[in-house]
């Protein structure tokens, strides 16, 4: 395992939405998918994963349905709802704006001031 980064507050929801937007996943699958797409760079506290999933479900951003897992066990699968898709788009855009602004700010050299 390489270096891992602490999650910024509020970013877990965004990552979950991104993870389930690619393919319906169960809770453990969401964890693995986030680790995979962040190339193991992000440490997800497993305990806060489920409350986050439930909150998103309650707010109708993701929908849950029981299905069969790869090894034939009953598991709860989450999919993105239309509202969730909108939210993901907004948050991604917002994040990109923020990140580029901060990056630009941090890369400022003394000559540019």
């Amino acid at each position: 395992m390489g270096k891992t980064a602490e999650l910024l507050p509020g970013t877990l929801d965004m990552l979950i939405l991104k993870a389930v937007s690619l393919k319906p996943l169960h809770g453990y699958g969401v964890l693995l998918r986030i680790q995979q797409i962040s190339r193991d760079a992000l440490e997800i506290p497993q305990g806060s994963l489920y409350p986050a999933l439930y909150r998103l479900e309650h707010h109708d951003l993701i929908a849950a349905e029981w299905g069969q897992s790869e090894n034939n066990r009953r598991a709860k699968y989450y999919t993105l709802t239309a509202a969730g898709r909108r939210r993901l788009r907004d948050e991604t855009a917002g994040w990109n704006r923020l990140a580029s602004a901060i990056a630009a700010a941090l890369s400022t050299t003394s000559e540019e001031v």
Partner: protein, 887 residues
């Protein structure tokens, strides 16, 4: 927002599934993670340990998940609910008292509210009911407050009052329906063609009456009510055109009304055109309303009552300008008044109902104060427990919500019981005659009722919670932990609060008691009024004679053979006939002109009760003869016109001379000399409309032929119990004509008793309310004194150890209860005086301030206080110093 409620609701309704799903999901995660760790080479034991650490406590995760859905609030609520229920179960005495108090107080309010709702609040069942008006003539200076409207009024106003879209008249009646041999009596209404249009409810089948159907030759049509159509014609859709015999004349059915059609309090099931002759509509008949014919009108959407009133006034002024009777009419203070139909219909009963609701609210206040006091006492018993819990971290919000849950649980259960009491109360009111009130048949126990109870219970629950929560949060923790544990006295503020509650309770109960006393005294005074005749042993009944079968002369023949037949029945002492017996419920006054009487300046012509009598009416009714002779059966057949007047009439017109031999005309004009009636007798004055009738208007009795009407009352004096004669009377009528029924068969005493129902029932209810109030106040006083004794056990024990006598201790508590009593009574007397003023409208010859009643109320309250404080003060006096100091 709505979606979130739906998702929460879904979880709450399938809670089991939610919890199971959560466990299964976490287990799946744990096992998958463990498997993955094992696959990557970790030993199974270590993998399980690692997974458990990474995931954290599943209890915490689940709690967080529940919170994400908002489910936790409901779990907390359920916990508080079961805690409250457990606490209430642990104190059955308190809980039972509280629930009973709530049930009775809420039940009483719901009952009265049901009546107020149906009589005063619920609009009449017509479109835009608030635009419906009624118009009546009044001649206040002639002693005639209300005289309906005349046919002439109708034909003159129709289309000429621009503030009204339409205007109609109607007349209540009773008709004999059906074929000879199987007739029935029906309540009917005779209405003008625009009656239904004015109400804006048209027949669902067929049509309404036309203008051509308003003469006696062309009015052979009828409209049926829905119930009549269903019962008589089995809801036959082809009923239009069928024949129905009304008063033995066939009529054609032309319409059926919708099921919702209910005109005011009328039970009419058959509607006929109000037919009249041209001479009934002339200006001469303008003031011949006589309270039989009533007018309704619908205001235009943009018109106001004031506009309508001024238009009517203006028209009256124009019309009276060329009226030969104009001066007399003006002297009588004539006006036509426009008022809301609904308000007018319930005007008489309104003050009584509002008074009763005020009484019920006072009762609820007493009950509520009682409960708050009991709850406060209870809360001070739990101060320590609460202090400990707050010290251990219970938030203020939690403490408050706990109180709210507890009080609301209490009031909701109480409200439920109150609903049952209310249902019983409505039943009681029916027994007391509530469905005879105007619109009283609309009184029902329905969902609205339950909703009101629910809302009231929740509001009460929250109101109760406020002082308790304040009490619980007010004290500092350390204080509470110390002071109460040492059995010291409770906070001064709380004590003052408790005592002022008791004082206000006593004051309210005192007001109720005094109010009930005033009503009872007023009833007693009304009952003590003599009706003016010997009312015992008289049976009376109404007989309707159809005009078609009994034209003028035939009526007299019928009556003569009837009195002859009844007179020969065993047990009958005398029998007579009159158009209208006293206390029959319908009275009308009409004018008479006394020969030689010139109106003094400022004097207005007077309306008098005028009757046609036949047979031995005066003896049958037990009238007293003051001078001359009674009328006899023969007077109807004699050429000479004679009449009898009552002493009020005689005193008014001939204060200094004998009335005998004086002459007068029936009607408001001097007639021909041959048409004048000679007074042959003076009888005692009689209460005609009711015992509480104050103004002696005077009465004239003519031989029956001169005062023929639609129906007659027969009055029979008997040596037997009067009701036992009912069947024989009906048979006697049937022997003459099998198609004529006898209605409204009641003894004269029953009529008098029934006439007092509007006074008796409120007095009974007020008595009931004040009885309950007294009981509640006793419970409240007892509770607070017992608490005071329990709290001061230690102090009392100490004083007794130092030599205080039990009698001193006892008198200390007696003194406390006396102080509370005195405070309450002083406030109560003021309140009783104010409420007595407000009650003047419903009182009969009783002033607002009646010393005997106030003294009686003081006595009863003092007795109650004494009883309530007896037990606690006795308990205080028996405290053993050894025991209390050793505690």
């Amino acid at each position: 927002m709505f979606k979130r409620f739906r998702s929460l609701f879904r979880v709450l309704t399938r809670r089991r599934e939610f919890e199971d799903g959560m466990s299964e999901e976490l287990r799946f995660h744990f096992e998958q993670y463990t498997d993955d760790l094992v696959r990557s080479g970790v030993s199974p034991e270590k993998a399980a340990r690692l997974a458990r650490r990474e995931l954290g406590s599943s209890i915490n995760i689940k709690a967080d998940c529940r919170e994400a859905f908002g489910v936790h609030l409901f779990d907390e609520f359920r916990r508080q609910l079961s805690y409250a229920a457990r606490l209430l179960r642990k104190t059955p005495g308190f809980t039972a008292t509280a629930l009973l108090t709530l049930a009775v107080c809420l039940g009483a309010n719901l009952t009265i509210f049901a009546v107020i709702d149906s009589v005063l609040l619920r609009p009449l069942p017509f479109p835009e009911p608030d635009r419906l008006m009624t118009i009546f003539n009044t001649y206040p200076k002639a002693g005639v407050e209300r005289d309906g409207s005349s046919l002439t009024n109708y034909y003159e106003r129709r289309g000429h009052i621009s503030a009204f879209t339409s205007l109609a008249i109607y007349r209540y009646g009773t008709e004999i329906i059906g074929e000879a041999g199987s007739t029935e009596r029906e309540q009917t209404m005779r209405v003008s063609p625009d009656f239904f249009a004015t109400l804006r409810l048209a027949p669902v089948i067929g049509r309404t009456f036309t203008e051509e159907e308003t003469t006696s030759q062309t009015d052979h049509v009828a409209i049926l009510s829905d119930t009549f159509w269903r019962q008589r014609y089995n809801a036959d859709p082809n009923v239009i055109g069928r024949q129905i015999r009304v008063n033995s004349v066939p009529r054609t059915v032309i319409g059926v009304l919708p099921p919702a059609f209910h005109f005011l309090s009328s039970d009419a099931r058959l509607f006929l055109p109000l037919a009249s002759r041209a001479e009934d509509r002339t200006p001469l008949q303008r003031h011949a309303g006589g309270n039989v014919t009533q007018m309704i009108a619908r205001l235009k959407p943009d018109a106001t009552l004031t506009q309508a009133q001024s238009q009517i006034d203006a028209q009256n002024a124009t019309l009276e300008a060329d009226d030969p009777q104009a001066k007399m009419i003006a002297d009588a203070g004539f006006r036509s008044i426009v008022v809301s139909l609904h308000a007018d219909h319930v005007a008489a009963i309104r003050p009584t109902l509002l008074l009763l609701q005020a009484g019920a609210i006072a009762l609820l206040l007493i009950g509520a104060v009682n409960l708050v006091n009991l709850l406060l006492v209870r809360a001070s018993g739990r101060v320590k427990e609460l202090a400990v819990r707050q010290a251990l971290g219970a938030s203020r919000g939690y403490v408050v919500s706990e109180v709210v849950v507890e009080t609301t649980l209490l009031t909701l259960v109480g409200g439920l019981l109150g609903l049952a009491v209310g249902a019983g109360g409505i039943h009681l009111l029916r027994v007391l005659g509530a469905d005879r009130l105007p619109l009283g048949s609309r009184i029902v126990f329905d969902a609205r009722f339950a909703l009101v109870a629910l809302v009231a219970a929740i509001i009460l629950g929250i109101v109760f919670a406020v002082p308790i929560a304040w009490f619980n949060l007010r004290r500092h923790l350390g204080n509470a932990l110390q002071s109460e544990s040492r059995g010291g006295t409770s906070g001064r503020a709380a004590q003052i609060l408790r005592h002022s509650f008791i004082v206000s309770q006593i004051a309210l109960a005192f007001m109720l008691l005094a109010g009930a006393g005033l009503l009872a005294l007023s009833l007693q005074r009304a009952m003590a009024v003599s009706p003016g005749f010997q009312s015992d042993h008289i049976l009376t009944g109404q007989i309707l004679l159809p005009w078609a079968d009994y034209p003028d002369a035939a009526r007299l023949t019928f009556i003569e053979s009837l009195t002859d037949k009844i007179g020969h029945l065993p047990g009958v002492l005398s029998v007579g006939v009159v158009n209208n017996v006293p206390f029959s419920g319908n009275t009308g006054k009409s004018a008479a002109t006394v020969m030689g009487h010139v109106l003094r300046p400022g004097e207005s012509p007077r309306g008098h009760y005028s009757y046609g009598v036949e047979g031995d009416y005066f003896r049958a009714m037990g009238f007293s003869l003051r001078a001359g002779r009674f009328l006899t059966a023969a007077d109807s057949r004699r050429a000479e016109r004679v009449c009898v007047v009552d002493e009020d009439f005689a005193r008014y017109y001939w204060p200094n001379t004998s009335a005998i031999g004086q002459r007068l005309w029936d009607g408001s004009e001097q007639g021909k000399d041959s048409e004048a009636f000679t007074v042959v007798g003076v009888v005692g004055g009689v209460k005609q409309a009711g015992l509480t009738e104050d103004e002696a208007q005077g009465a004239i009795y003519y031989p029956y032929v001169f005062r023929i009407g639609d129906s007659v009352f027969v009055a029979v004096r008997t040596s037997l119990p009067p009701e036992s004669l009912g069947l024989a009377l009906q048979q006697a009528v049937r022997q003459i004509d099998p198609d004529i029924p006898v209605n409204d068969l009641r003894s004269m005493e029953t009529r008098i008793v029934d006439s007092l129902v509007a006074r008796r029932s409120p007095a009974l209810l007020a008595g009931l309310f004040s009885g309950i109030a007294l009981l509640l106040t006793a419970i409240g006083t007892y509770g607070v004194l017992s608490y005071a004794v329990a709290q001061r056990r230690r102090e009392i024990g100490l004083r007794m150890a130092l030599g205080a006598q039990p009698a001193q201790i006892r008198s200390q508590f007696l003194y406390l209860s006396l102080r509370l009593l005195a405070g309450g009574v002083i406030l109560g007397v003021i309140g009783a005086w104010l409420s007595g003023q407000a009650m003047q409208a419903v009182l009969f010859h009783v002033p607002a301030f009646n010393l005997a009643i106030l003294a009686g109320a003081v006595f009863v309250m003092a007795l109650m206080s004494l009883v309530a404080c007896l037990l606690p003060s006795q308990r205080a006096a028996r405290i053993s110093p050894m025991e209390t100091l050793a505690e």
